[in-house]
């Protein structure tokens, strides 16, 4: 067990190295002169040179990578070109709305998707099952931002029951305003996540329902509800949890879009502002931040199995 945990932790290192190398090479291998692209159409030669210096592009590439990795290992994600602030500081300022939105979305999605998928599996082939599957195909097809605008149009502009846009912090403005502002973004972002989790839950529960121990449980007269909850769902949990972990990558992309639709001042908006301002170090820092976060969360999920599911022994 301990060797497995150790092995699994060590396995994340090459992945992180690949991510870092890739992000590092992205800037260096970009066609044309990235410093000129970042500087924009109206930049003078001095501007371009200044940006090149700031990105460290004038040194030999090996030296660049060495210095850059050294900084990275000390937790330095780079410095913004325009505000001259460390990217980690900018991330810290904007992280609260993003993390809370991600959290409400994951909670809401699981609460909706797991029961939906379980019922669909239990009544496989029925109209309930077909509508769940239809919803999941639809959920993968509707763009996040279109859904966002439809929800704003219906609930904010026409029915006027929820605020149009913006964000309120639960720590400063109280829980009520926070929930009112976070509801539509959460629902918007959840749809694709619900589609994903419901599909996996259904597939996984259907497979478990064919097992011998389910027949045994039914044969000894256990109620269908208990069969589902105690035997089926619990054994189907591992693939469901895995898909939640994989879905976090999806969630990160969705957060950028959702924050843009609902004007939420989080990390997604930080990316977009950086794109508009051509502030590449911020974009690069955020890619590294999100990628490492994703790797660590999936490590955590993998390790959780070994404690939750006694059948998994390595």
């Amino acid at each position: 067990m301990l060797t497995y945990v150790l092995k699994r932790v060590l396995m994340t290192i090459p992945v992180m190295v690949v991510v870092a190398l890739f992000v590092f090479l992205l800037l260096r291998l970009a066609p044309g002169d990235p410093a000129a692209v970042i500087a924009g159409d109206y930049a003078t030669a001095e501007d371009v040179q200044r940006i090149r210096e700031q990105l460290g592009l004038s040194q030999p590439i090996i030296v660049q990578f060495f210095n850059w990795s050294l900084q990275l290992m000390q937790g330095d994600l780079g410095t913004s070109i325009f505000s001259n602030k460390p990217v980690t500081e900018l991330i810290a300022q904007r992280i609260e709305p993003t993390m809370l939105l991600a959290l409400t979305t994951i909670l809401f999605s699981i609460l909706v998707a797991v029961p939906l998928g379980t019922i669909a599996a239990f009544r496989a082939g029925s109209w309930v099952d077909r509508s769940v599957m239809l919803f999941s195909v639809g959920g993968f097809s509707v763009p996040v931002f279109v859904l966002g605008y439809i929800l704003i149009y219906v609930f904010s502009l026409n029915l006027r029951i929820l605020p149009v846009q913006g964000y309120r912090s639960p720590f400063e403005d109280g829980l009520g305003p926070f929930l009112a502002h976070i509801t539509l973004p959460t629902v918007t972002l959840s749809v694709i996540f619900i589609a994903l989790i419901a599909r996996m839950t259904r597939a996984s529960v259907i497979e478990v329902l064919e097992e011998d121990y389910i027949r045994t449980a039914r044969a000894k007269g256990q109620s269908e509800f208990k069969v589902l909850m105690r035997h089926a769902l619990r054994n189907a949990a591992v693939p469901i949890v895995t898909v939640v972990g994989i879905g976090i990558a999806l969630l990160i992309g969705g957060v950028v879009v959702t924050e843009s639709v609902y004007n939420i001042p989080g990390l997604g908006r930080l990316v977009l502002d950086a794109v508009l301002a051509r502030d590449y170090p911020i974009i690069q820092g955020l890619i590294l931040f999100f990628s490492f976060l994703y790797i660590l969360l999936n490590l955590l999920i993998d390790l959780t199995y070994t404690f939750l599911d006694p059948r998994i022994r390595y």
Binding site: V18, F22, P31, F140, P143, F145
Partner: protein
Amino acid sequence: MAEQSAHDTAAATPMPKGIKDPSVFQLALRNKSVFWGSILLALIVVIAAIGPFLTLDPVALNPMNRLKAPGEAGLFGTDQLGRDVFSRVVNGARVSLIVGLAVAAVAVAIGLFLGLIAGYIRVMDALIMRVMDGLMSIPAILLAIAMISLSGATLATVVIAIVIPEIPRVVRLVRSVVLTVREEPYVEAAISVGTPVPLIMSRHVLPNTIAPLIVQATYICGSAMLTEAILGFLGAGIPPEIPSWGNIMSEGRTFFQLTPWIIFFPGICLAVTVLAVNIVGDGLRDTLDPRIARNMR
């Protein structure tokens, strides 16, 4: 799990050799969702192909006719510069379809190549798969945004930026097929009689990858269209001179409360197109890949 899948796929997709067994595509078309999805898709392709010749100029400005409602001026109204939204949406269909197809084709080609190498050449396996693991942990949209902001937004850079995050999934799929096929008795037999590696690849391994790759390609096509629209919507996609569903919606944001249809029309078109592609994909998966289908049904 993966071992089974490749085996069943091979069994379920009779590869016509000599005997005219027209099954694969005819079988697929017999599937209801493939049939209706294909019809819907064909309709969209026709509109995208000939529509732009029949509609107004999508970039012609008409300042007198700004922000008109649908029906008041043109079928879908006009935007803040007085451009006809209907012609813009019809023209935008081209961008979505081109990006979807291009991304699917390029991602499958590169993924197939790398997957065959990883599956067959043991030394390369670990290297390629670690790189793919790393690539998969980078959020696709952020990676695309970064690449586009470095090299400037053109149709080509947008396609490349969407292709790269899609490659790992294809590589994993192809590799898993190769790993199982190479253990099959008929491949061992081929090796034992001294068949050269390229011939084993093209005659025994490649045909087994076709069915799962077709299914994967349709899903990539659908998600590429969505990503293109998201990039356009965020202002990091196809430049505004070429109308695309993404950048029409992006420009519609400013006046959303006044003229929500500028977002809704292209949005609905995009959703319907992606839905059609995904329905075809689901249907193909059911007919071509019975093992996954059994789990998903």
